[in-house]
Amino acid sequence: MTPRVGIVVFPGSNCELDARDAFAALGAEPVMIWHAETSLDGVDIVILPGGFAHGDYLRTGALARFSPIMDAVRAHAEAGGIVLGICNGFQILCEAGLLPGALRKNAGLKFLCKWVTLRVDEADTPFTARARPGQELRIPINHFEGNWYVEPDVLAGLKANGQIVLRYADNPNGSLDDAAGICNEGRNVFGLMPHPERACDSLLGSADGVVLLGSLLDHVSNRTGVSV
């Protein structure tokens, strides 16, 4: 049996189909989950996809974190289940307190859609297991609010615990400590601004995203005995 990947769809999400197609191409079984649901019906991995949930009105992720499904997402995370927030999903996880920090407007005050180079600084996580420490990945960003911030003392703790998983080789948005992707203390909840699902097909410019999404599938396969 294959890993089931639950993709949460908020009103205003817009990368859910891309996430679905990328995971399907990797042999997983994508399951679309509407934000008003209250159950994740036993999926192995939860994805909060990119987009503009509730139009990003007020603040990115500010309204989405109150969606009914978020209680189930929190429970899944607390039970050690894998949760990945991509772009807007990362912003929602921060607003929901499942990941530390907040995302401000890009330092350049511009929306940025471009290819960037990421460095894997923590290779011993379920999200980066397929990567070599220090390996560079070419993956696009696509956001206006990717300028991650956290209080200095918290940052110190995160670095000490190795929770800054991915860093920009060349910081595009002013993000603190060049952070592009982080995880929680339990190393089962991940958030990143770049879009690995957009980098799973060399015809589109890069397949490096497979390293990250594939690692998650390996992880749940090994843990639950399901295989890809």
Binding site: L58, R59, A62, C94, Y149, G174
Partner: protein, 81 residues
Amino acid sequence: MSYLARVDVMLKPGISDPQGQTIEKALPVLGYGGVRGVRVGKRIQLEVDAASPDEARSKVEDMCERLLANPVIESYEVSIA
């Protein structure tokens, strides 16, 4: 009773404010010297039903804590008219 509430949400001091900085850079160009400390935040207006100004205020402050402001980077002020 219905009260008009005004909420001002600003980035906390010490947190860099690209919008403010951009405006601060643009002003001299337009011939406005002697301007400092530009900060850009949100002003939210709303009408709340409440029995008293105090009740209105605590209701709105509650909204700020949970929704209107993000405590990690923002501070807020509520005024009730």
